[in-house]
Amino acid sequence: MGKQINVALIGNPNTGKTSVFNALTGLNQKVGNYPGITVEKKEGVCKLSRGLKAHIIDLPGTYSLNASSLDESVVIELLLNKNDKDFPDVAVVVSDVENLKRNLLIFTQIKDLEIPTLLVINMADRMAYKGISLNIPNLEEQLNTKIALVSTRKKQGIDELKQLIEGYKDLSTQPCLDTSEIDKDYFSSLHKAFPNQLLYKLWLVITQDVNFGKTDRNEIDAVANFKTKNKADLKRLQQKETIKRYQFINNALKKGHTIDTSKAKDLRSKLDRVLTHKIWGYAIFFFILLLMFQAIYDWSGIPMDFIDETFASLSEWTKNQLPSGAFTDLLAEGIIPGLGGIVIFIPQIAFLFLFISVLEESGYMSRVVFLMDRVMRRFGLSGKSVVPLISGTACAIPAVMATRNIESWKERLITILVTPFTTCSARLPVYLIIISLVIPEGHFLGLGYQALTLMLLYLLGFGAAVGSAYILNKILKIRSKSFFVVEMPNYKLPLFKNVALTVVEKTKSFVFGAGKIILAISIILWFLASYGPGDDFNNAEEIITTKYASQNLSEDELQQHVASFKLENSFIGITGRAIEPMISPLGYDWKIGIAIVSSFAAREVFVGTLATIYSVGSDDEATIKNRMAAEINPILGGPLFNFASGISLLLFYAFAMQCMSTLAIVKKETNSWKWPVMQLVIMSSFAYIVALMAFQFLK
């Protein structure tokens, strides 16, 4: 075991931090993504020479240490807290050769914190294309640092970067700017009050708008007195500071950085002319959305059917091969169908993140933000809400986390509150199975009724999100400074490695994060359905045998009756029948009731629950769908899943807040129980009312 050093990758968004991170760590990385970890924190390990290891963190993109959004405050919180276990031994600032000037701003700030800092100039492959030439030794001297010229795309410069990281002890920690020059009087009194503190650090603490967690701020808490300067004054000083920083940067780049514009090519403006066009821009965006849904609905159908059938026969096979008994039953009826209920999502989740990460990587997502801002603002949202709302079609959890870059608290809160209305992939299996049961297969104008229904449900979810945002915007009385600055990055061909890693990463965290809950619930359900209290359950065989004694049933038929009698008297059956009065006006029986209750944990549990309930006791190799189609409504007669109850269920699932993990992440992100509780109560009662009206009207 050798020594391990902490390395933090910092820089503006889109400079290639994640690409550098991927190049350094390969598959040696993990992402904290799910409840329990607040920050999307990517960490990995990179082996250097002589047993030295680097622990690398990919921090969220930030333009400066003056955080204006939550995402950015993560960076400054880390850099101000020397006691954090991740506090960097060396900061690696990643910059894009095309935006070097702007990217260097944060470099100067970090250096002023006297943290050893080295600079990566990434995208070196673009230099010729843009007519840029660099004199690295000159720049190193001017900026007083070491520079690695890197192209992650061409896989160049990574080894040099590793060497520089290894030699981090030789880096100069001399600041770029003399902080006191910003305002001599003010800073000399500050220095007198806190003689042992770094002036720039004090200044950062004084001027931060974002509320921090617990950093080692306590010792400099008294600093609050220095806020005496009014806001406008502080702002003027910050402006002065920024101008000084740019002066330093312009000076430093004077010799070492030249651009021959006659050699530069310009693909950006050609593409922008079409992609941000007042008409074409929107048409193309709409087309991309269509394509995305096509992929999720159509293309993933094939692997999903395959997975469904594989698990059905696996379950059957287990039953036949293992000696019968409680354990085999648990395996065949609880665990295997439960696992199937998780694995079946993989194709859809993968497709969604494939699209989303390609759109992000290519730079197109910012154009969408630009196009949609005005429209979204009408509903109290921001152009930046589009990304969460689109990601919400995969899963509300990453979507809620993706709101972090919305600067206005009100816009961000509204986005968080309405995102769970969008049709997440967990609703999809519920929708798919019910649509296939109750919507006829016919065609209308070449489009299948079933596909159209699904499309309508997506629109409904989106409409509900936007509509409730409109109402929230009117009733929430929150004053928050609203501003909107979006960088429009260059268009880029997505790097395959980045896209693949995102897809694998997100899918994995779904399978292991949400999957755990689903599996646990499947097992609990199986127990509740396989055991029961009282004499009725224990003496089921005798009761049924006596009851049907006169009817000369075959052994098989008798067993069926015993099984369903047992289920009705099991723990789950008793609970289900207790809530039946509440849900029968919606057209559901107690089995659906159980599925709804258990799917509160996660919607996708619905199908798994029905699978578990229906497979307990029945041993033919039928798919879930066939079993559901055979169910009879106990009160009204006729198929349980008919048009009226099917529509009612679809609507219920469209609106109800049924996802514990989403509630947990909303609590985390809003830092209060008020909002998730409000979401739960309002969404679920609305769902109940709409489903009730639909069933009563259609039946």
Binding site: Q239, R273, K481
Partner: protein
């Protein structure tokens, strides 16, 4: 007032003269929107809002309400 960024037309180039209004977020300054730099209006969304700018080589989009507070001097008519 005709000399704010909100009055720029597509393709036009101007010189930024003043950004001291408190309605301009610091982040915008940090992205290069500083006096003396040139700004070009690259593209506008419907209703001229938001505005897609090229400030000294930095490409960014801001809302019209912010653009209204940035004072400029036109240098070319596009």
């Amino acid at each position: 007032m005709e000399n704010t960024l909100a009055h720029l037309k597509r393709g036009e180039i101007a010189l930024i003269t003043d950004v001291s209004s408190i309605h301009i977020p610091l982040k915008l300054l940090e992205m290069g929107c500083l006096p003396g730099n040139t700004v070009q209006l690259v593209q506008v969304a419907p209703f001229q809002d938001p505005m897609y700018l090229n400030i000294n080589g930095s490409h960014l989009a801001i809302r019209k309400e912010t653009a209204m507070h940035i004072l400029i001097e036109k240098v070319s008519h596009g």
